[in-house]
């Protein structure tokens, strides 16, 4: 995949937020998972959401996707939203193109679907059954299904977590390209600090049911793991996440960033296999 230098979509900080959350409270019977959470997302911004496993990232994302019943608090959202989950969640009995165009009301739905598949590099599989796709292909189809709706808010819940390191790198590049082309506001839940630093303009760290840290990432694109600014921000983010880098250094580097284990943050595979651009 060739990378042309990317620029953040033009944004004015004073613009009205496209997502506005105030005093959000959500509980599942044992304490509040979301506790008086407030959040603004600017149009076209790329925000990464990090935090310990079980801290409520998915719960927040589901609220923003309107997948959960109306919670306490104010939530203002754009009409056009799309979600991509960790699993592709394609409908197995619909061909890839039909999955992408599902629910589209436009007269030219097929043309739009094909264009979206082309953008994610999956045009040749438009007629395939989803269960015959590879993991990466299926996730790209899911991305096309989200993209074709021209969302103003794109919610990504660990969309690359189940992919192998190389595929993940490709997908990260793809998401960055799509974001700069279509300029939706992106909220990316991830356990991978490097992923957040590669892609996002802003990193939010969740703890105790609220946004505990809001860290801007003012790095130029394309970003590299070795850049001094990158390394400094990584230390800062890891500190916010309560991870001791010294301790991490002793671990096997391959999958130290997995969120399956509580508090398991650190250097992801992408840090090891940095792309030579």
């Amino acid at each position: 995949m060739s990378h042309t230098p990317l620029r953040s979509p033009a944004r004015r900080p004073q613009q009205d937020p496209i997502v506005r959350v105030r005093g959000l409270v959500r509980s599942f019977g044992h304490g509040n998972v979301l506790d008086n959470l407030s959040l603004d997302l600017q149009p076209g911004s790329f925000t990464a959401l990090l935090g310990r496993s079980g801290c409520g990232k998915s719960t927040l994302l589901r609220t923003l996707a309107k997948l959960d019943p109306a919670p306490d608090g104010t939530v203002e959202l754009p009409d056009r939203r799309a979600v991509v989950f960790q699993e592709p969640r394609l409908v197995p009995w619909k061909r890839v193109l039909r999955n992408v165009t599902l629910g589209l009301r436009h007269a030219d739905a097929d043309a739009r679907g094909l264009a979206a598949l082309d953008e994610v590099g999956l045009l040749h599989r438009a007629n395939a059954w989803p269960l015959t796709l590879s993991g990466g292909e299926a996730q790209r189809a899911a991305l096309a299904r989200a993209l074709v709706r021209d969302p103003r808010l794109l919610l990504l819940d660990e969309p690359f977590a189940a992919l192998d390191a190389l595929t993940r790198l490709r997908m990260q590049g793809l998401v960055e390209t799509l974001w700069s082309a279509h300029a939706p506001a992106v909220l990316l839940v991830t356990h991978d600090v490097d992923e957040a630093l590669l892609l996002a303009d802003r990193a939010l760290v969740m703890a105790s049911g609220t946004i505990a840290a809001d860290i801007p990432i003012p790095l130029d694109r394309p970003r590299r793991h070795g850049d001094p600014g990158f390394i400094a921000l990584r230390s800062r983010l890891l500190a916010e996440l309560g991870v001791d880098e010294e301790h991490l250094a002793g671990r096997e580097p391959q999958r130290a960033a997995t969120g399956a284990k509580p508090g398991g943050y650190g250097l992801p595979a992408s840090a090891v296999a940095a792309p030579s651009r």
Binding site: L67, W93, K94, L102, G103, T132
Partner: protein, 269 residues
């Protein structure tokens, strides 16, 4: 040792390799040959069981006279009518209970209770209610087939992948579109399993039903043959039942192949 066995089997089935459908008939045909040999060699008395050759002759006789076709049509008519009613009722109940909580509360407890009743035990009651005409026979088939359809389709609707449903619900589909595009196709495999089971129950119900004072049908053919000690005719009737059952199963297989092409098992690429 294992390798030898595998080779031997591979060799024996080699001739049917190009017709995978035929492979299913190898064992029945083998048994048939054994049977003919046993009668021919006098191991089995022709009184208790005639030879396949004799049965074939009787079959030919019944077919040529048009008797077999007549009875067959009557039986098929009963099974079709019963299945049509049973499958429709079962499907309607499953959709009602599967797609709405209120429907489930209204129907499921009752149907779960009734399904434990062996439906063939209702024969005496059905004779009292419906007499000895066509109605009790069709009703027996309908009752027997409604339950497997209901149980499987209901379970199928409720076990459609919740994660997929959730993802699709973010795509702006109406409730009916969601049902039509996701929930019902997702429940189709379970429905077809139910249908296959229902077909089995349908034949069973027919066999029992046609022994209630019938004056036509394959079951009637077998009952009258008993009075004249015509084991060959009885066996022709049994074979017709078996072939019909097999054919019905094949039809469901074909439907599955056509409708469930998305499943990787059937995907050939």
């Amino acid at each position: 040792m294992a390798a030898t066995a595998a080779t031997a089997r591979g060799h024996r089935f080699g001739s049917t390799a190009h017709f995978p459908g035929l492979r299913r008939y190898v064992v029945p045909l083998g048994l048939l040959a054994l049977w003919q040999a046993s009668v021919g060699l006098g191991w089995i008395s022709t009184r208790s069981i005639p030879s396949p050759g004799q049965i074939l002759a009787t079959f030919w006789e019944l077919a040529a006279s048009g008797e077999l076709a007549m009875h067959l049509l009557v039986s098929l008519g009963r099974v079709s009518a019963g299945l049509a009613i049973g499958v429709s009722v079962g499907t309607l109940c499953a959709l009602t209970a599967g797609l709405s909580r209120r429907g489930e509360d209204a129907l499921d407890p009752l149907l779960q209770m009734l399904r434990t009743l062996p439906h063939l035990a209702l024969v005496p009651l059905f004779i009292l209610w419906f007499g000895i005409g066509e109605t009790p026979k069709v009703a027996l088939v309908a009752l027997g087939t409604a339950f497997p359809i209901y149980l499987n389709l209901f379970a199928g609707i409720r076990t459609v992948d919740a994660k997929v449903v959730e993802a699709v619900s973010t795509l702006g589909l109406t409730r009916w579109e969601l049902i039509a595009h996701v929930i019902l196709p997702g429940a189709l495999p379970a429905f077809l399993t139910g249908l296959r089971y229902a077909l089995g129950v349908a034949w069973l119900s027919l066999v029992v039903g046609e022994q209630i004072n019938a004056s036509s049908g394959i079951g009637y053919l077998a009952m009258t043959a008993r009075e004249f000690l015509r084991t060959d005719v009885i066996i022709v009737a049994l074979i017709v039942y078996a072939v019909l059952g097999l054919a019905a199963d094949q039809i469901v297989r074909l439907i599955e192949r056509a409708a469930l092409g998305w499943r990787p098992v059937f995907v050939k690429e």
